[in-house]
Amino acid sequence: MPSLIRASASDGAAAPARWAGAIARHPGLAIGTLVLVVVLAAALFAPFLGTVDPNRLNPMLRLKPPSASAWFGTDRLGRDIYSRVLFGARVSLIVGVSVAVLVTALGLTVGLLAGFLKRADSVLMRLMDALMSIPAVLLAIALMSLTKASVGNVIFVVALGELPAMARLVRSVVLSLRERPYVDAAITSGTRLPLLLVRHILPNTVSILLVQGTFVFASAMILEAVLSFVGAGTPPDVPSWGAMIADARGTFQIAPYTVLFPALALSLTVLSVNMVGNGLQAVIDRQARR
C-alpha cells in the first residue's frame, strides 16, 4: 500500500510533503487506514486495555448503564460490554482477513484457469454461475446450522459465497490482458504457460485483486455478523459483535447501549475497510490515467 501512495505522489517532493499530499488527495483512504489500525490494535492488545474476562457473568451488575467501572455498560447477563466489544474485534478481523485471502487465492486460481484454458472455462464458469445463483446469506446460514459452530466453518461458508464474484472478475481481467500485444509477443517467443501467468499476467492483476479483496474483507465481516445475529455463527464463548446485537434484541428498548456499542464498532470497522477499498481504487484509477 505505501508503494502505491508513493507512486501516485508528485515527482521529487520531500517524503513528508509527499505523504501530506497523498493524504490530502485521498482523505478517505487515510481516515479508513487510521480507524482500521486502531481497531487492529484494540483486537491485538484487548487484554491490556482495561478489559475483564468478556465471558464473565455478573448477575449483580445486569444492564448497568455506562459508568467509570463499566465504560460501555453491562448486558443482560452482567457481562462487560466494553470488554466484549474489544474482544469481538478479533473474530471480526480474523474472519474478514481470512476470507479475503482465501477468496483472492481461490478466485485467482479459478479465474486464471478459466481465462486461459478454453476447455476449463465453460465448466468453471457454469459452476460459478450456479454458486452465484444461491444467495450467499441463505447458503451460509443453512450450512452453519448443519455443521459445528466454529470460526473455521464460518470462514469457509462465507468464502464460498464470495468466491464466484471474485472468480468472474479475475477471468474478465485475464481475458482483457490476453489481448495485449506484450502477451502475444511472449506467446510467440515461446514462453510457457506457467511462466507467462506468473511473469506477465499475475503482476497486472495485483491492483484489482487488492481493491476487490478489500471489499470482500468488508462484506465478509458483515456476513459473519449476520450469521452470529441469526444464531448460526461462531460458538457462544467467542464474543462476536453480531451475537452481541442479537443478544440485546430483548433489552435494547430499556438499555439502548447494549446494541449501540457493538453496532457502532461493527459499522465503523466495515466503513473504514470500504473507505480503504475506495481510496485504493481512486489511487489506481489515477495511475491508470497517467
Binding site: G28, R126, L127, D129, A130, L131, M132, S133, I134, P135, A136, V137, L138, L139, I141, A142, L143, S145, L146, T147, A218, S219, I222, L223, A225, V226, F229, V230, G231, A232, G242, I245, R249, F252, Q253, P256, V259, A263, L266, S267, V270, L271, V273, N274, M275, N278
Partner: protein, 313 residues
Amino acid sequence: MIRFLLHRVAMTVPLILLVALFIFSLLNLAGGDPAAVIAGEGASAEKIEALRTALGLNEPFLVRFGAWLLGLVQGDLGTSLFTRKPVTELIGQRLEPTFSLALLTLVFSVLIAVPLGVIAAWKAGSWVDHLTTGVSVVGFSVPVFVTSYAAIYLFALTLGWLPVQGYTPLAKGFWPFLSHLILPAAMLSISYVGLVARITRSAMVEVLGQDYIRTAAAKGVSEPDILLRHGLKNAGVPIVTAIGLGFAFLVGGVVVTETVFGIPGLGRLTVDAIARRDYPVIQGVILVISGLYVLINLVVDLSYALLDPRIRQ
C-alpha cells in the same frame, strides 16, 4: 432476436439443475441426520435406523438426488419434518409478506437511487456527487440489522409514528399493511440504493462523455432531455443489470429484516426451519429463492434486447 431469446431461455434449464445439485449435495455433505431429528432425542439406534430405511436415506446419493429432482419437476418439494405439511404449501403461505417487502424495497431503491445517480453524474464533483458516493459507502457498510434497530428506536419507540414490528396482510386494509412495511423496506433499501446509485452514476458518466451527447447539446436540446432521453436510456443496460444482481443482496437482507421486524415471510420460514433442522424445508426454500434469482436475471438479460436494439440482431 428469436434465436437470442430461445438460446438464453434454454441456458437456464441446465443452470437450475446445477443449482439444485449444488444445494442438495452441499446440505448433504454438511452432515446431520434427518432420521435422528424426526425420531427425537433419546430414540434408540434401531428406531433411527428403521426410520432411515423408511425415509430412503440409506439409498445412494444419486438415487436420493434423482428422487428429489423427480418430485421437483412435478412441483413437489417434499414434506416438512416438523409440521408434516408439503413444503410447497409452507412456501406459498409465506410468499405475500416477502414479495411485498421485496417489491416495496425495490420501488424505494429505484426511485431514490436512479435520480441520485443521474444527478451525481450530471454534476460530477458537486456536493450531490460526493453525497451519493458517501451514501453508497455508508449504505454498504452499515448492516441492515443495525439501521433497523436505530429506525425502530427512533420512528417506532420514540416518535411512535410506525409500528415496532409485525405484519398485516394487504386484505386487512392498505394503510395497516403499508405502515408495517415502511420501516423494514426503507432500511433494506439503504444498501440497495448504494449499489444502484453507484452503477447509475458510472454508467451515466460514461454515456455523457459520448459524442452524440455533445451533438445533442450543440443542437440546443434541453438539459433534462439530454439527461433522460439521450443519457439515461443509453445507460439502461448496466443499471438494469445492477438491479437484477442486487436481488441476491436483497434476499440476504430480507432474511435478516424479517427476523428483526417479526415478519412471517420466507426468511423467517428459513431461519425457523434451520433451527429445527427441517431439511426438506431448508432445501426447498433455498432452491425456490435461487430459482427466482435465475429467472430474474433471465428477465434482465432479455430486457437488454428492449433497451439496446443492437442486441436484437
